[in-house]
């Protein structure tokens, strides 16, 4: 578990972070989301013991980053924004070096190395100098050095920065694989990356924690408006008068529904778009069933993460 309490960092006289407090449970994949300068990298560097906090405390797996930094360092694997690579070294030598730095003996590293090369898809370039590799491969080497010593916690700062679309998908898949065995913290301002990879988000703005929760929770919390799209089988006209008016009336009476748009009708179905002030999916379903209508499909259009993000940080970014 990671527990930060009133974590604060000053650069000179300028406050870069905090005070912020948060907890991350074992096995979670948490995204630090924020604009440039929001404090994401500072928070992750403190977690990785690359920086020391100015105030507050942070524990990683029960060890304090200030009083027991070596214990913390043994438990974390850190991939900074620019992977910490030695361009003159072959990939396998570099990974052996990284393992030895983390206190592994050569035998253990030799046994672990094939697995790490396989997971990161580096086997084919294992003996190549890092300086000759493409950006995507270098990023993979950065991930490999972070996992060589089987750390419990992985910290990735902007892991897809500078990658092409194919490499982004590959990196995302790699992170998905790593989630099985590690607690993963990722920072990014690329919203789709965060939303597709993380279980939970911590939204930072100007060094402050502006929000925390899943994407849906943040969307609901920040915007009480949800769009529900519901499709029902068109009822026979003889039973209910005008079918469109009947279904519209049923939907309008549901608690939380603020607006029902005119339906899109096909031969045997009607699709309505509802604006709601809360998560009214269950109530809408019940109302349709109680009115003896056939529910064919119900979906809700979540507030887009981009919109949520902009709303959350909007008031904290100097009017930008």
């Amino acid at each position: 578990m990671i527990r930060a309490t009133n974590l604060t960092k000053f650069y000179g006289g300028k406050r870069a972070l905090g005070p912020i407090s948060f907890e991350i449970e074992d096995g979670e994949t948490v995204g630090f989301l924020g604009l440039n300068g929001a404090g994401k990298t500072t928070a992750l560097r403190i977690l990785a013991c690359d920086l020391r906090p100015s105030a507050g405390s942070i524990e990683v797996g029960g060890a304090d980053v200030v009083s027991a930094p070596h214990e913390v360092r043994k438990r974390i694997g850190f991939l900074p924004e620019n992977p910490p690579l030695y361009m003159d070294m072959p990939v396998d030598d570099y990974l052996i070096f990284a393992g030895e730095l983390r206190g592994m003996d050569r035998g253990a590293i030799k046994r672990r190395l094939p697995e790490v090369l396989d997971v990161t898809d580096l086997t084919s370039v294992a003996s190549d100098a890092i300086g000759t590799l493409s950006h995507g491969y270098r990023q993979r080497v950065g991930v490999a050095q972070a996992i060589i010593h089987k750390p419990k916690f992985l910290i990735f700062d902007e892991p897809t920065r500078g990658l092409d679309p194919v490499q982004i998908v590959e990196m995302r898949n790699l992170i998905h694989d790593l989630k099985q065995n590690h607690t993963v913290l990722i920072s990014s301002h690329i919203l789709t990356e965060i939303s597709q990879t993380c279980d939970r988000l911590l939204v930072l703005g100007q060094g402050q924690l502006l929000g925390s929760g899943t994407e849906s929770e943040l969307a609901i919390r920040e915007s009480k408006i949800m769009q529900i799209t519901v499709t029902v089988r068109t009822p026979p006209a003889t039973d209910s008068g005008n079918p469109t008016a009947f279904v519209t009336k049923v939907l309008e009476t549901v608690d939380g529904v603020t607006e029902v748009s005119p339906p899109f009708a096909t031969l045997d179905s009607m699709t309505f778009s509802l604006a709601t002030s809360s998560d009214a999916r269950a109530a809408v379903t019940r109302a349709i069933v109680e009115a003896k209508l056939d529910l064919l499909k119900l979906d809700y259009a979540r507030s887009e993460l981009e919109n949520t993000f902009i709303r959350i940080v909007g008031g904290h970014h100097g009017g930008n």
Binding site: G12, C49, D50, R52, P69, E71, F78, M89, L101
Partner: protein, 241 residues
């Protein structure tokens, strides 16, 4: 100690792999040869005088080489981001500095060893002893190792290699001028500056003449220790910034 050894091996490997390192070695050899020819081979001289002049000119070349080899040690890692790997590993700052310093010192030993053909030629053609040559080489390494320690400190302090070079040059040249400065001062300050002189007093008037004094060894060891300690504390302090 294990971490020091790991860092030492990596850094030494980096020196041995880098073409720039060998360019520095080559330049040192060429310059020391040219300076020997231009300065020490004029007229008919005793072989002991030629050897003394060889150590005089070569100490300047090796001193500059030590400075150049040291610039990259920490500043390059900081500039290309690889220092983060060391900072986020369970490794003490002392191990980082010591591993890097010892690797550069080993490469300097290789450099000094490669210059040794000249004193050996002097021995073949003259009447110097192997002890004189060995003492001179040890003195060269003590002097260059101290310049290296100054360079490691500058490299830990500076954000890039250019600034590290300027700081190293300023400190080493400044300490090398203490002898000149002492000439313009009265006792007891004069004595203090004489004792702190980096080159003339402790190298040229000692090992450079085939005599090694314990006070010179202590001086170089103390100055090296001082700057390496400063480098360690600088690395530690950078984490708080």
């Amino acid at each position: 100690m294990a971490a020091t050894s790991v860092i030492y091996r990596r850094e030494l490997g980096a020196y041995l792999r880098s073409p720039w390192s060998w360019v520095i070695v080559s330049a040192t050899l060429v310059l020391s040869g040219i300076l020997l020819w231009a300065y020490a081979m004029k007229g008919e001289l005793l072989s002991a005088i030629v050897l003394e002049r060889f150590f005089f000119t070569t100490s300047l070349c090796v001193g500059v080489a030590a400075g150049v080899l040291s610039f990259r040690l920490v500043a390059e890692d900081r500039a290309n981001g690889s220092l983060v790997l060391l900072n986020t590993s369970p490794v003490r700052e002392t191990s980082i500095i010591l591993g890097k310093y010892l690797a550069a010192l080993t490469f300097l030993v290789i450099t000094v060893a490669l210059t040794a053909y000249i004193p050996l030629l002097i021995k073949l053609a003259g009447k110097v002893t192997i002890s004189q040559i060995l003492v001179g080489c040890v003195g060269l390494l003590l002097f260059a190792g101290t310049v290296l320690a100054i360079g490691v400190f500058a490299s830990a302090l500076a954000p890039n290699q250019v600034i590290a070079a300027v700081i190293t040059g300023a400190i080493a040249l400044g300490m090398g001028q203490f002898y000149q400065l002492a000439g313009a001062l009265d006792e007891p300050v004069r004595g203090v500056f004489m004792d702190l002189d980096l080159w003339m007093i402790h190298f040229q008037q000692g090992a450079g003449r085939g005599v090694i004094h314990l006070k010179d060894v202590v001086y170089y060891a103390a100055v090296s220790y001082f700057f390496l300690l400063l480098a360690v504390k600088t690395l530690e302090a950078k984490r708080w910034q």
